[in-house]
């Protein structure tokens, strides 16, 4: 082979190639967005992207976040939480309460129960013109409560004792709960989905006695384009699972007519591709289930630098409900010592963490309750970042610093803790490394481990088998006492076949008592007091190191009006009829 003589020139070209591909690096990328002359999206079409998979849109069966997001466009529930974090009526006329007399407490066989009366808006209709009635709600309750249907939060259905539809006006119905639950008024899709009985009732009749049959036969899976399945501002004109959905206005919608004539929701699982699509103009908007936080930050910086781009898009951050924290496994002998727990908490500068990694766009958490939540309290023990205090606590616990390697030892044993989290989550991996470095400063050796989400949640967290620390998140929906997380009966063990989510095995009698009382405490003020008690204990015992509340991020066209990021589980598409791209 004569080719050998040209070795040098080959390597030369390779290096040249490298240089060429690297050199047009960051300095140029700002100019790569769409040019100012490209017209922004108008009311005839909006393409929004998301990175998470969605399933069929049956509101009872849905389990994925993306599905519940998309459902907002097409199926309204009886009521929901609005952008000001207050419950408000969607399909209903008025939310019942003890004060307005639409709800009352009855006592049957010595048990206090709550009965509430509801009425659906007269003009509320399904997409084929059939009215939304109490029968729809009754069917939904029957389907969701059936042992033959797989539903995530069964309790929401089974605690309802009966649903009675008014014989004269089917728009009116009453609900009786089997106890006097304070939160009887929650009828959103995350509590109870709403099915069109005129379509789904016959299917349910055929499948109700067969385990798992309903979900295979539901019209939402079989014929999702049927307009009768939808009562929201939009209906579906095209649906390809794993790819996209096209929404078009629903002419029978009970509210204002939608302004945007066509909304395409597109699944792009690679978030980088998604960003490239945004710049090339084939995507107009990125939903809250789209970008990674890091990406959003760098996009925001890019927009701030480049006026041409900031004329096109807005990046919106809204502090959300997702509570990131480090669970301490109290079965670990080291972590049983509250001094070590407190030392760990004093040793983390969460403010620095959020400033450095998130440019302050995600807020440090004081405890598990969100500041927007009505249960929030500041009246708890606080842990300022304080290395000296932290070291003193460890000293006191008998862990002495070793001058040579900087770690602490006791009886020849190095103070070592393992910190686990989910693999493939860049932000968590970054925080993991940050924490490792932070705790090294107080002489704690932290080893890191990541597991794929399904192993981490399916095994490790569920059974509480992580050896020391585990970093993950809870979605703390507003007005929702955390009984299943903090109650000592909820410590997963072989005995209760690992039911319960108190994976760190925190056990505190004061908390147990408060949580027992809270469920049936109808007085908002009293509930508030009980929750404050729980949070005070939480911060006294330090079973968890609170980190921050994640922010929801969305990128929207600069000319888009009336879009807001709610920050909680009832996301923006519920109000999509107001979205406006007109000038």
């Amino acid at each position: 082979m004569k080719v050998q003589k040209k070795t040098t020139s080959f390597w030369f070209w390779l290096l040249m190639g490298t240089a060429i591909s690297i050199l047009p690096g960051c300095n140029q990328c700002t100019s790569n967005g769409p040019t100012a002359s490209t017209p922004g999206p108008a009311n005839d079409q909006l393409v929004l992207a998301m990175s998470q998979e969605f399933e069929n849109l049956n509101p009872i069966l849905q389990q994925m976040l993306a599905t519940s997001y998309l459902n907002g466009f097409v199926i309204h529930s009886i009521n929901w939480i609005n952008k000001d974090w207050e419950w408000e009526c969607a399909l209903c006329v008025k939310t019942p309460s003890l004060e307005n007399g639409l709800a009352k407490i009855v006592t049957e066989n010595g048990v206090k129960k709550v009965v509430s009366s509801w009425e659906i808006k007269p003009n509320a209709k399904w997409g084929d013109g059939a009215p939304v009635t109490g029968h729809d709600f009754k069917l939904s309750w029957q389907v969701g409560g059936s042992k033959n249907v797989a539903v995530g939060e069964k309790k929401n259905y089974t605690r309802i004792e009966s649903v009675t539809v008014d014989a004269v006006n089917p728009k009116k119905f009453t609900i009786k709960h089997d106890k006097a639950y304070y939160d009887f008024y929650k009828l959103s899709h995350s509590n109870i989905g709403l099915l069109p009985s005129h379509i789904e009732a016959p299917i349910w009749e055929k499948t109700k006695n067969q385990p798992g049959a309903y979900e295979k036969q539901t019209e939402y899976a079989k014929n999702p384009l049927n307009p009768g399945l939808y009562n929201g501002p939009y209906k579906i004109s095209e649906l390809k699972l794993g790819s996209h959905i096209i929404f078009t206005p629903n002419e029978y919608f009970y509210g204002d007519a939608p302004k945007i004539k066509k909304i395409i929701a597109k699944l792009i699982s690679n978030t980088q591709t998604m960003e490239a699509n945004l710049f090339s103009g084939s995507v107009d908007m990125i939903s809250i289930l789209g970008m990674t936080f890091d990406q959003a930050l760098s996009l925001k910086e890019k927009l701030d630098r480049d006026p041409k781009l900031s004329g096109k898009y807005k990046v919106k951050f809204e502090p959300g409900l997702v509570y990131e924290h480090v669970d301490l496994n109290l079965r670990n002998p080291l972590l049983k010592d509250v001094r070590i727990r407190k030392a760990l908490r004093h040793g983390v500068n969460v403010k620095e963490l959020t400033d450095a990694l998130f440019r302050g766009q995600q807020k440090p958490a004081l405890h598990s309750v969100h500041p927007m939540d009505s249960y929030f309290t500041k009246d708890v023990e606080k842990y300022a970042f304080d290395l000296e205090k932290s070291k003193a606590l460890l000293e006191e616990a008998g862990w002495k610093a070793n001058a040579s390697d900087g770690y602490r030892y006791k009886d020849g044993e190095k103070l070592t803790l393992n910190l686990m989290t989910t693999a493939q989550n860049k932000t968590r991996e970054q925080v993991q490394v940050f924490l490792q470095a932070a705790w090294k400063k107080i002489g704690v050796n932290v080893t890191l481990k990541t597991q794929p989400a399904r192993i981490f949640f399916g095994e490790t967290v569920r059974k509480g088998t992580y050896p020391g620390l585990a970093m993950f998140a809870w979605i703390s929906s507003p007005d929702n006492p955390p009984a299943s997380i903090f109650h000592s009966s909820m410590i997963p063990s072989r005995k209760n076949s690992f039911s319960g989510q108190n994976s760190g095995a925190w056990s505190n009698p004061v908390v147990d008592e408060a949580l027992d009382l809270i469920e049936t405490e109808l007085d908002q003020k009293e509930r508030q007091k009980l929750m404050v008690k729980v949070m005070q204990e939480y911060n006294k015992d330090v079973p968890v190191i609170p980190l921050y509340f994640r922010s929801d991020v969305a990128v929207i066209p600069a000319n888009m009006k009336n879009h807001f990021v709610t920050g909680h589980q009832h996301s923006a598409p519920r109000w999509a009829q107001h979205w406006d791209l007109g000038n």
């Binding site: 080719v3 076949s497 039911s499």
Partner: protein, 323 residues
Amino acid sequence: MASYIIRRLIQTVVLLIVLSFVTYLMMGLMPGDPLDIACSANPDCTTENLDQMKELMGLNDPIYIRYGKWAAGFVQGDLGYSRTYRVPASQILAPRVVNTMILGFLTMLVSLVIAIPLGVFASLKQHSKLDYFINMFAFAGISTPSFWLGLILIIVFSVKLDWLPAGGVETIGVDQSNFFAVLMDRIQYLILPVTALSMLTIASWVRYTRSSMLETLRMDYIRTARSKGLTESSVIRRHALRNALLPVVTVVALSFRLIFSGAVITEKVFSYQGIGSLMFDSIMGNDFNIAMCCFLMICLAVLLMNLLADVLYAYLDPRITYQ
């Protein structure tokens, strides 16, 4: 010959059955599932709920019973139910298979059209500059990580130049009635993935064609043909090419495996809605039925092409006797 083919067919089927069982076992050993993940962040989703859901989905049976049920259904054409999308698996699979077929065959076609002439030219101009460049290109081709090439293509052609879409299959909402518009639209989306995917096959075919040609050109009958005074071009066309390309045919058939294997990663990089990316997503999301179907379908396609290659080889090469 017929008995040889039949024997190979039986082998293929047996292999598929064994493979399906082993794969089923392995996937069964994967911990957790989509239900666990869906419940993971939700304080109101209790373990009882989870267990009940799993019971309903038949996840609590022993593995061999589940395999039996699954295999029985599969043979009868019931591909099962997707736990991720909550619809029958066939509904998801069909369009994906078509997409991957398009990607795969187009890659094969493009590779053929490029690789064979390049290989032949290189062999005819052995030791020339052209030969050198083709050789280097081939070496680079087999040494490039395909996903990385894909990323670079996206950076250059989608992000920097904005000429081609960065990923996907088609523009959603394109007018489906206009055949030409649909075609042009899909081609746009195929250019980058096909380029990334065909790099490896082009490179290895070029090398193979080149060496096969060189070997043939050294054969006695070529010398004879030349000495008979035939023109160089007719020597090459009539004698050399025909003989040199015979073994290439089998290599091409065998390369199906490379294309289908590579498609998983290429589809992932370009968010191409094919069976490869579906397989990856369903393995990661533990969507059992879908993952099994995708995996077996890829295996089936590859095994059939292997079979075809063997038969072709046996047919084309008189020296092989099929026992």
